[in-house]
Symmetry: C2
Subunit: 220 residues, 2 copies
């Protein structure tokens, strides 16, 4: 079964107080995005890797790759206006039977998670890794907030994994505001989402504190 | 306005692979629970502090306090069977007008969060700190999972803060399975929950990885 991997690094990091988007920052000597590509390449070097980048940062990435003598084969796709359009562009050039779509700022996905995703793809068209919530959650209403029992909810990570043809088709639709991740696009097109266990270290580096946390997890 | 602080350390830590409950483990030289009490004492030494502990660990705590020459004044309440009953017992002996109920395993609550809670208590009967969700969430159904727009949800922390009389009254009711935190008990009795910004470092130490993360945040 041929697998394509899309790594999305389209964000320009509004939440991060840094000029350079966080995916390019050095995490213990290696830029975050290179660590993310390494995680997939070290798991299986045969998968094709497609990287979406903001147009204005492509040449920066290429120089960074040269500087770090970064050799992992990958194709670059110009990021669209929204994450949705980047993914759509990337899906168009995938050649696998299945695709894993992964956040560029999640360098710490482990082989266990990737194996669980791959195994589940044998019987399911849409697979997503999850972890349990530690904090309670509340739903926000116009004037109020409502307790939700956290046992009924999980937190989902990436890679979000799909049958290529079906997710390509799902991405033919119009962009909707409710699309917070690829699974929500898939679900909207009628696919059922199968959940597998993720790994706790697989955090999304969103703030400077996450950066610090990722460092400590790598040192471990 | 007189404030009571309840620190709950009733858990025996099923998720943590350690003989000694995690609230007693040393975090950079100081047991987690002492760090938590310190956070409140350093913010305002005038508040009364009530600590709920599992019966079988009270003498352990007392020896630990002696060993660390720990002088922060606090009263100990015997933890009940469930967290619910511990809190109920602790509420019975509070003497403040307001009460903050805080997880013993959240040592990194900061003064900003505590000040925002206190200020909000001047106009609200129930106040809870929140942070935004970083990951997408899904609701679990019997056979399926459903995307929920994470913009409509927040993650809540502690201290959860209340008008003492009203929360005492709320805790007079029967224990229900939907009570995942104090705010859900308050809400069930008809109170509205007001949200204030928490601090990202205020994590609940639940797993060995959280422990590692807390260490790195303290070093920062």
């Amino acid at each position: 079964m041929n697998l394509s991997v899309i790594i999305t690094a389209g964000g320009i990091g509004k939440r991060f107080s840094s000029e350079v988007p966080k995916q390019f920052l050095s995490l213990m000597g290696t830029p975050v995005l290179m660590r993310t590509l390494n995680s997939f390449f070290n798991w299986n070097p045969m998968n094709e890797i497609i990287l979406t980048l903001p147009t204005e940062w492509i040449s920066y990435w290429e120089k960074l790759a040269k500087k770090h003598d970064f050799k992992i084969p990958h194709r670059i796709v110009d990021g669209g206006k929204e994450r949705y359009h980047s993914i759509k562009n990337a899906l168009d050039i995938c050649s696998g039977d299945f695709v894993m779509i992964h956040d560029g700022v999640r360098p710490l996905v482990d082989k266990g998670t990737l194996n669980r995703c791959l195994n589940a793809l044998k019987k399911n068209k849409a697979v997503v890794p999850y972890i349990e919530l530690k904090d309670s959650i509340r739903e926000l209403n116009r004037d109020n907030s409502i307790s939700r029992d956290r046992k009924n909810y999980v937190s989902v990570q990436t890679p979000q994994c799909f049958d290529l043809k079906l997710i390509q088709k799902a991405y033919q639709g119009e962009y909707l505001d409710i699309f917070t991740d690829d699974a929500s696009v898939a679900e909207n097109s009628g696919m059922e989402i199968y959940l597998v266990k993720g790994n706790e270290e697989n955090l999304k580096i969103t703030t400077p504190i996450d950066f610090k946390i990722a460092e400590s997890l790598i040192k471990k």
